[in-house]
Symmetry: D2
Subunit: 315 residues, 4 copies
C-alpha cells in the first residue's frame, strides 16, 4: 500500500514531524553508479520550487541531505534494497497544537480519522507533502537509469497544470489490457497530493478535443520506427508506447491551507475558526514538476525493466 512499482519498487515511510522520512528501492539493477549530487539537486528543486518566482516563500527549509542506509558499495548499486532516510531536522511540532482534535477543510484529517481512528496531527503527519521527498530521491535514481538508455523526463508548471514529456521511450512498452502505460501514468499522477485530473496527449484539453483530431495520421517514411504527423494521442496506442514522445498533463487543486485561516470541524460536528500555525505552502505548484517527473520516471523504468531486465548492465 505504501509501495509503488512492480519490478523497480519504491516503498516510502515517514511522518512530517517524526524522526525521518525515507524509502526503500527494491529491484534496482546492480552495478549502477549513483550520482549523489544529482539526487541532492533534485531534492533542492522540490524544496525550493524549481526556480519559480514564488519559491522563496516556502517556509520549511530543511537541508534534505539523503543518508543511504544500504544497497550501495563504493557509490555503485549492489542489486540489493537501497534504503535511505532524510532526517526531519526542522521539526516544530508545538506549532500544530491548535489543530489537535479538529479536522481542517480540504485536508485528509477527517478521512484518516475514519480509516485509522488515530492520526499524527503535526504538520499533516504522513499525509504531508513532505512524503514526496522520498519519491524525488527514488525518481532521481530512476532518471539515472533512464538516461543511460536515452530516455529523458521533463515537466513544467503553468496555471494549475503540470505538463510532462518523456522522450526516447522505445516502442513496445506497456501492457495492453489493464496495466496500460497510460493507466499506470494516471495512477502514478493521481497518487500525488492535491492531484485532481490527468490527460494524455499534446494538450491538456483532452475533454474538449474535436472528433477531427483523431486519429493521428501516419507519416510516410522508410522502414525505421513509425512516426505520425501529429501526436494527439500522446505517444501511447492501446496502452503500449509507440515510440513518439509521451506527453501528458496533471491538474492540481489550490493549497487547502489559506494564509487567512480556516474553519475546522470538531469531533462533535461544531465548527471553529483556526489561524494556522506551522508552515504551509502558499504556492505549491512550483514544487510539483520534480514530483511529477519522479513518478513518471518510476513508471517508465518499471516498464523498461520488464522488457530489458539487464538494462543497466550492458557493457
Amino acid at each position: 500500500m505504501n509501495t509503488f512499482g512492480n519490478l523497480f519498487r519504491l516503498t516510502t515511510f515517514g511522518e512530517s514531524h517524526g524522526p525521518a522520512v525515507g524509502g526503500v528501492i527494491d529491484g534496482c539493477p546492480a552495478g549502477v553508479a549513483i550520482d549523489d549530487g544529482f539526487v541532492s539537486s533534485e531534492l533542492a528543486r522540490r524544496r525550493s520550487g524549481d526556480g519559480h518566482p514564488s519559491s522563496d516563500i516556502t517556509a520549511r527549509c530543511e537541508p534534505d541531505r539523503v543518508e543511504w542506509l544500504s544497497g550501495l558499495l563504493g557509490g555503485k548499486t549492489l542489486g540489493t534494497p537501497i534504503a535511505f532516510q532524510l532526517a526531519n531536522a526542522d521539526c516544530r511540532p508545538d506549532d500544530y497544537e491548535a489543530l489537535r482534535g479538529c479536522c481542517r477543510p480540504g485536508h485528509a484529517d477527517y478521512t484518516w480519522d475514519a480509516k485509522y481512528g488515530i492520526r499524527d496531527h503535526r504538520g499533516g503527519g504522513r499525509a504531508s507533502g513532505r512524503e514526496t521527498a522520498a519519491r524525488v530521491v527514488a525518481g532521481a535514481v530512476a532518471k539515472q537509469l533512464l538516461a543511460a538508455e536515452g530516455v529523458s523526463v521533463r515537466a513544467e508548471a503553468s496555471g494549475h497544470t503540470v505538463s510532462c514529456l518523456l522522450c526516447g521511450v522505445p516502442a513496445g512498452l506497456g501492457e495492453p489490457v489493464f496495466d496500460r502505460f497510460n493507466a499506470r501514468l494516471a495512477y502514478a499522477m493521481l497518487s500525488i497530493p492535491s492531484a485532481m485530473a490527468f490527460a494524455m496527449g499534446d494538450t491538456p484539453q483532452a475533454f474538449a478535443l474535436s472528433r477531427e483530431a483523431f486519429p493521428d495520421q501516419w507519416r510516410e517514411g522508410g522502414s525505421g520506427p513509425a512516426l505520425t504527423l501529429t501526436n494527439h494521442c500522446g505517444g501511447i496506442q492501446g496502452g503500449i508506447s509507440n515510440g513518439m514522445d509521451i506527453c501528458f498533463h496533471v491538474g492540481f487543486h489550490a493549497p487547502s491551507t489559506r494564509p487567512d485561516g480556516m474553519v475546522c470541524r470538531n469531533g462533535d460536528g461544531t465548527l471553529r475558526a483556526v489561524a494556522p500555525g506551522g508552515r504551509h505552502d502558499r504556492d505549491h505548484l512550483s514544487r510539483l514538476p520534480v514530483v511529477v517527473e519522479a513518478m513518471a520516471a518510476l513508471t517508465a523504468i518499471d516498464f523498461l525493466l520488464a522488457a530489458f531486465p539487464t538494462v543497466s548492465r550492458r557493457p
Copy 2:
C-alpha cells in the same frame, strides 16, 4: 497483466474472433446469490448502447449469453473462482483480410507488433473493444455485492465525456499514499480502450477550476457523518473516501475507424488506403457508460472488501 484488482480480482481472456472471450473472478465472497438476468441486462447495455439514439448502428449483434464454468452452485457463489465465457458466435474473420500485414492509424496494430512480434489481425484481436464484455460481466457481479451494502454506481455520456457517480461509499476507504481511491479510479478508467483523460470532482473542468473553488467548506451539523457544502473534490480527500458522493469524469477520443476508410502503414513504411471491412463502431460513446460503471464497481468492491472482508456474509 490481464488481471485487475487485489482482493476481488478479474482476469480477462479472449480475442475478438477467437473461440470466446471471458474471465475469471477470484476473491468473490461465498454465499452471494447472482442474478443472471441482471448480468444479461448489463451485457445488453454494452452491446446496444444504453438507449442512446445511435445505438442501432452497432453492426455486431451477438447474443452475448454468459456461460458460467465454475464457482457457482445453485446460483450462489462458492468462494471459488468464477470462470465464465461468452462464445464469439458472430465471427466473420475473412472480412479482415485487407488488414493483414498493415497497421491502421489510431489503433494498437503497430504497438502490438513492436511488443509481441505477432498479432491477431482479425477485428483487433485482443485489442478489440469486445474484451470489455468480460469486464461488464464482472462489474455486474460486483454491483450486486455493492448494492447489498447500499452502494450504487451510475454513469452517463455527453460529448466525448462519461460522468460517473458512486453513492453510498462509506468514509475511510482507500489507501493514503500510492493506492489512493482516486488513483485506482484513474488507473481503472484509463484502462478502458480510447480513454484519454480523467478528472475527479463535480465538474469535468478540473484543469480550469479557480483557486476559490477549494477547499470544500464544512457543513455545520451533529455528530453524524461529516458533510461539506460543496463537493468539488469529488468525495475523496487524501486518497480516502469522505462519505460524500464519489464523482468523476472520463474523456474518450473518437473512434479511430472512420466509415470513409483510412490510410494504413505497411511494414516497409509505405502507406496505403484501405476501405475498412468488418464491423466497427461509428459511435462507441453510448456503449461506454456500462463499461465505466463496471470498472468503477470493480474498484469500489476491492476497497470495500479490504475494510470488510466478510461483507456479503452479514446475516
Copy 3:
C-alpha cells in the same frame, strides 16, 4: 489466491463436478508453438498414473481433452492470456449424496465449512485432486518453453515420496532473501493436495544429514561454470541456482478415503460411519509425479523469464 507465479501466471478454476475445470495462463511469451499432443500425453500421465502398476484402478476415466479458448493463433501463442478448459464429462454427482452435511476425516470438508460457510460436496468440489489437471496443462506449456532453453524436468515416485530433478537451469536464477528458488519450490510443492514435506538435496533425508555432508566442495577446473564434487545442497545456494542439477523431494500422506469406509462428523458433533460412494483414488502416488513436474516447471519458467524475458523469441 488461485493464481500461481509472478511473470508466467496460472489461474485455475473449476469444481470436480461442475461444468469444467480449467485455467488461464497469463504472461506466456508470444510466438511459441504449442504441441497439443504433448499436452494430451501429460494429461494422460496424470489420469492413468505414469505407467505405475496400480494406475488401472483409478476409477474416473475422463478423456481430458483440452479445449483452448484464447491466446493461440495457428498453434502459436499470441502473448495474450491462454485460457483453456477440460469439460467434466464423467459427472455422477448423485454418488455423493451420503456425504452432504457431514465432514470426512482427513479431507478439507470441515475447513472449507469454517472458511466459506458453503461447500460443493460433490467429489470434493474444488478441493478435489481434479484441479491439478489444470496445473498439468500449464506445466506442459511451461515445459515446452523450458525445453527450448535446454531445461528438463523429471520426477519419480517411490514409497510416499516423489523425487524431482531439474537439469540445465543456468546459474543466477532466484532471489536471495525471501523469494528464493528453494522457497518457491517448497511453496509450489506444498500446494499440491496431500503434500506434507519438502526437502532440498540429493537425498530426502535432509532432516538426518550429518554435519560432515556440508558444505559441498569445489571441483578444481577451468574458467567455465563452477562445479562441486557433491550436490547435497541440491543446486541452490543462498536461494539462487548454482548451475548444478536442482534436486528435491516431496513427501505425501496416504489417500484419506479408504475403500472400507470412514467415520464422518455431523454438524452437531456426532459421528457416523459412511461407505464412500463416488470414485476415489486407492493409490494416488502414481498420479503425482506429473503434477510435481508441472509445479516445478511453473516455478522454473517464472525465474527464467525474470532473467530473460524474451527467452522464447530468440531467433
Copy 4:
C-alpha cells in the same frame, strides 16, 4: 523480492557491514501498543542463541538496539509504515580482505556473482545471517498482534531440526489451492538461510509416515470446534487451518564456515585454502528458533488480517 507478506508486509534491507540493517513493516493495523522491551528481548534471543549452552561462542556482539524511524506516535502504531534500523556498530570489514575475489564453498558467493556481477564480500554482505535481525523485529511486532488474539508461537531446536508450534489459530485461515497455510509456511521457512527441509505434522518424519497414520480420526463431541484424536496432519487440512495446533519442523544444514578453514574457488577456476577471518557462527542452530518463530508469526498474522482486518481495533 525483499518483501514478505500480502497484508502485513515486511521489506528488509541492509548489508552485514554497511551502515545498518532494518526493515519497513507496511500494513500493521493502527492503534496497537508496541512493547519495545519485548522487541529487544527477541533480538537478544537471536543474538545470543536462546539460552543454548553454545550460545556464548557467537563472536559478533552488537547491542542491536532498534531505532524506530516512522509509524509510531507515543508508542502506538499509526497504521502507516513502521520503518526501523539496527546500526551495524561492530563492523570490522578489513577482516574479510582474504575473501575478496574468491568464492567460499557452501556460501552464496558464486551464485551472487552469477546473478549480480557485483557483491559485497564483507561478512557475506546481504547474504549474511544478520539480515534475519530485521525479521525478528517484525516478528516481535506480529507476535504482539497475535497474542492479543490468543495466538502463541514457540519453536525449539534439537539435532539439525527446529520444531515450531502455533497455538490458538482459529479454523478457516488459509487459501485452498495455491496460497495454502502450509505452503506459505514452507515458503517462509525455506527463506531462512541454511534451511533445507520442511515437514508438517507432529513429527519431522513426514517422509517415513506409515499409511496407517492417516487420516486423523474425529473425536466425538458437542457442537463446538471439531477436534481430532491425533494431529498427524499438523493442524491444516486442504490448505486451511482446522483449529488444532499447527505444528511443523524445519531442517537446517550445518554452518558452511568451519573453524579449520576452507578451500575457496578463484575466478579462474583454481582453488586456494583460506583461513577464515571475521566472525562466523560455530553453532547457529541455537539462534534459529526465534527466526523460525518470526517467520511463522509473519505468516500467521497475514492470514489472520485477511479474515479479520480490524483485528487489533476491537475495543
